[in-house]
């Protein structure tokens, strides 16, 4: 009784005499720090090798430092020029440009700048590449502008200077505008001409085909996973190897074998012709179109659907279905009302995996997709590796990433992300 009154009158003390609350908090903090220290290497690894490069890549979609940094004087001088006048800028701009280019040619950055401007207006790259000719013969005591235009008349073209002025900021929206088939002209922002629009079409097609691939993966993968989960272990293990074997085979090998099967002189068509189902002129076009992309990619992504489905189905107790049947349900009702709802988390996990992987594929569509079965990732790959227009590639990548996040959000709203299970 007396000890209780003691405790109530003052704070509870730990063995070493500090208040228990403080001591507990200290112990907890120590634990938290220890736990945090344990994950520090992983966190640092992810930050350095994953988040930072992605962030850096995405930042390129707006970054435009090369123009103001390579031609600081010109950018300032151009502020006074009226780009709607239809005339080349004044002598002051050309003088500033001459000074800027003297430095740039010394540092060999002028051609790089030309490539950047060429993404927006074709033809500028060679103007900068051939700068040595006008620059070399300039008499500094005379006005610069006429000497430039005499040496290379395209320097008098206002379009060149409009492009420079439009891109003179440290940040630009031009990549994002291109990524949605728009352009900024001196009349404002507008859609590109019909025959130059491509990215919105491709984005839409990427979505539609990815959904089609995901749906066919569900349709094909569900029965297989069901079979695997309900067979005796020994048989199901052998079947599982059949699922995993293609998973371990190189992507290119699998795509090439689809080419052998699907092409017009390929195995499927040959078989159909020799069976007399098709005549030799009426061979089916099974590839170099959307059919080819859907077939090959469904096959390649199927394991990503089967594996989560299988691991979820494994956890569904057979007694549920038995209980349903003993209460009078027929086979179908027992499956549809009891088994299927329990397997939905597996469908969710598989669908998210397959869809996200499908959206980013480009090798398979490139090889079997012809022209109607290619994805937006094929264009991203082109801009990364051929045109070196990494800004546009980054802008397209940002759009793709944003779309995936939107889908993820929708999925969370409709199905609930807690409902996703990998096993």
């Amino acid at each position: 009784m007396s000890t209780m009154t003691d405790n109530q009158s003052g704070p509870m003390l730990a063995a070493d005499g500090t208040p228990l609350k403080v001591s507990l908090a200290r112990a907890l903090r120590r634990q938290k720090i220890r736990a945090f220290l344990l994950i520090v290497p992983l966190l640092a690894f992810i930050l350095i090798s994953f988040i930072a490069p992605i962030g850096d890549m995405l930042f390129r979609s707006v970054e435009n430092g090369i123009v103001p940094e390579t031609m600081p004087r010109t950018v300032v001088a151009l502020e006074d020029w009226d780009e709607t006048s239809g005339e080349a800028p004044s002598e002051a701009v050309f003088a500033a440009f001459y000074e800027d280019m003297k430095v740039a040619m010394e540092e060999k950055t002028h051609t790089k700048l030309g490539s950047r401007l060429n993404y927006d207006t074709a033809g500028i790259a060679s103007l900068f590449r051939k700068l040595r000719k006008p620059m070399g013969n300039i008499d500094e005591t005379q006005p610069i502008k006429p000497q430039f235009i005499d040496a290379e008349e395209d320097w008098g073209d206002p379009e060149v200077w409009q492009t420079i002025k439009r891109l003179s900021g440290y940040y630009t929206s031009s990549y994002f505008l291109s990524a949605v088939d728009m352009e900024s002209t001196h009349d404002g922002i507008q859609m590109k001409d019909d025959f130059e629009r491509i990215y919105l079409t491709l984005l839409w097609r990427t979505m539609v085909l990815s959904v089609a691939i995901t749906v066919s993966c569900i349709l094909l993968g569900y029965p297989i996973a069901f079979l695997l989960a309900n067979l005796p272990l020994r048989t199901s293990n052998i079947l599982m190897i059949l699922v995993l074997l293609p998973f371990w085979t190189s992507l290119l090998v699998r795509t090439s074998s689809w080419i052998v099967l699907l092409q017009q002189e390929g195995v499927i068509n040959d078989t159909l012709v020799s069976l007399g189902i098709l005549d030799d002129q009426g061979r089916l076009e099974l590839m170099y179109n959307q059919v080819g992309t859907i077939v090959a990619m469904t096959h390649i992504l199927l394991p990503f659907m089967i594996l989560p489905l299988y691991s979820v189905m494994k956890t569904i107790s057979p007694s549920y279905v038995r209980a349903a049947k003993s209460l009078g349900a027929n086979d179908w009702t027992a499956f549809w009302k009891v088994y299927f709802p329990n397997s939905v988390p597996g469908i969710g996990a598989g669908a998210v995996l397959v869809f996200i992987l499908a959206i980013g594929y480009y090798i398979t569509p490139e090889l079997v997709g012809g022209t109607s079965g290619i994805f937006i990732s094929n264009r991203i790959a082109y801009h990364i590796s051929s045109s070196l227009n990494w800004g546009l590639a980054a802008a397209l990548g940002v759009m793709l990433l944003a779309l995936i996040l939107v889908f993820y959000w929708l999925y969370d709203r409709i199905v609930g992300i807690d409902n996703v299970k990998l096993g």
Partner: protein, 367 residues
């Protein structure tokens, strides 16, 4: 404790060995396949025989060389010493400051008769950073056994657009370059006006409209091996690809395929040295280039693959194929019989307009 010490010593020793090995290792990037094999025999093996300390490591990344070099440059760690690229890529790399400038007078060997390298290569030095190696051409091959053709065989590039006389699938490269030129030539544009016409929106539209007439009969390719494969399978009856690929289908694999040299497009392939190498590596790369691009070496490569040497002085030295024993001169794209009508890849035009026309071409493709 003792074992730790041994371990540390071993690790240190390994690192020493590794760095010593690295000092003598030179990474040369090329296209792989038969092409790399021809370089191995004509350049790498004799170079290593002359320089016993040096090991040449082959990297088959030329197709992605531009992007990879830029990434290496940004990371500040260029691991390649010499890179084989097509001329248009060399121009892009030079523009981006990713390749070092070459001085033909000091960095390249003169011809045996003393002609300076600049003169020996002539117009083929299309960029300050580029050392030409071979002249190749993109041209057509067709199957010789197509029953529907009734014994006729294509004789001009315009037969590619004639699906009435020559029905069947055509295999064309999935890019505008070359295809739009051929389309305009076959649409009545004079050869000398092709690039003036292509420089306008209407010209591009005209070329695409011509391609549109055979659109349903085209299978597109993106890798050089696809057309030979399709011709051999009978999947396509006529198709464009690099002449060396067709040579190997016809002469090495003995497939019923023949060459159609009409309006072949010449292009160049050669070396660049990445910018920003250490002095030691740069000196070695230059030493290799000096050796590998001399008159005899360029002529030697033609023993193994049917591409023409880029030096004028190498042409008379081209001999027989090393394995097949046939004379190589008649298989060179530059042979007068093959080169009656030719285009030369217009580097300047495409460097400026490639992205622009490619966007229109791709938009046309996805329609």
């Amino acid at each position: 404790m003792k074992s730790m010490h041994t371990l540390a010593t071993a690790a240190a020793a390994t690192m020493l060995v590794a760095s010593a090995a690295q000092a003598d290792e030179m990474t040369i990037v090329s296209w792989g396949g038969a092409y790399s094999a021809s370089q191995q025999k004509a350049y790498h093996d004799p170079y290593m025989a002359n320089n016993p300390g040096v090991t040449i490591v082959n990297d088959e990344s030329s197709a992605e060389a531009v992007a990879k070099l830029r990434a290496m440059d940004e990371a500040g760690n260029v691991t390649w010493d010499v890179v084989d690229v097509v001329a248009s890529d060399a121009i892009r790399l030079c523009d981006e400051g990713l390749a070092m400038e070459i001085d033909p007078a000091t960095h390249l060997a003169p011809a045996p008769d003393g002609t300076p390298a600049a003169e020996d290569f002539g117009d083929l030095l299309v960029s300050e950073c580029f050392i030409p190696q071979i002249v190749y051409s993109t041209t057509f091959g067709y199957r010789t056994d197509v029953a529907e053709w009734g014994g006729k065989s294509p004789s001009t590039v315009c037969d590619v657009f004639d699906t009435a006389t020559f029905p069947g699938k055509r295999s064309l490269e999935k890019r505008p370059i070359n295809n739009v030129e051929w389309a305009l030539l076959c649409d009545g544009v004079a050869p000398e006006d092709v690039y003036d016409v292509l420089g306008t929106d209407e010209g591009v539209a005209q070329a695409l409209a011509k391609l549109d007439t055979i659109r349903d009969d085209i299978i597109w390719w993106s890798a050089g091996a696809e057309t030979p494969q399709r011709l051999a399978d009978g999947e396509a009856v006529i198709g464009s690809t690099y002449n060396g690929r067709l040579f190997s289908v016809i002469e090495e694999q003995k497939q019923p395929v023949a060459m159609l040299w009409d309006w072949q497009v010449f292009d160049l392939d050669g070396w660049i040295i990445p910018a920003g190498l250490s002095d030691e590596r740069k000196a070695r790369a230059l030493d290799y280039i000096y050796f590998a691009t001399d008159t005899q070496r360029l002529a030697d490569q033609a023993k193994y693959i049917s591409y023409g040497p880029a030096r004028k002085s190498s042409a008379p030295l081209v001999g027989k194929h090393a394995d097949l024993g046939i004379e190589m001169a008649p298989h060179m794209p530059t042979d007068p019989n093959n080169a009656k009508t030719t285009l030369l890849y217009n580097y300047e035009f495409w460097a400026d307009n490639r992205d622009d026309i490619d966007a229109k071409f791709q938009a046309w493709l996805v329609q």
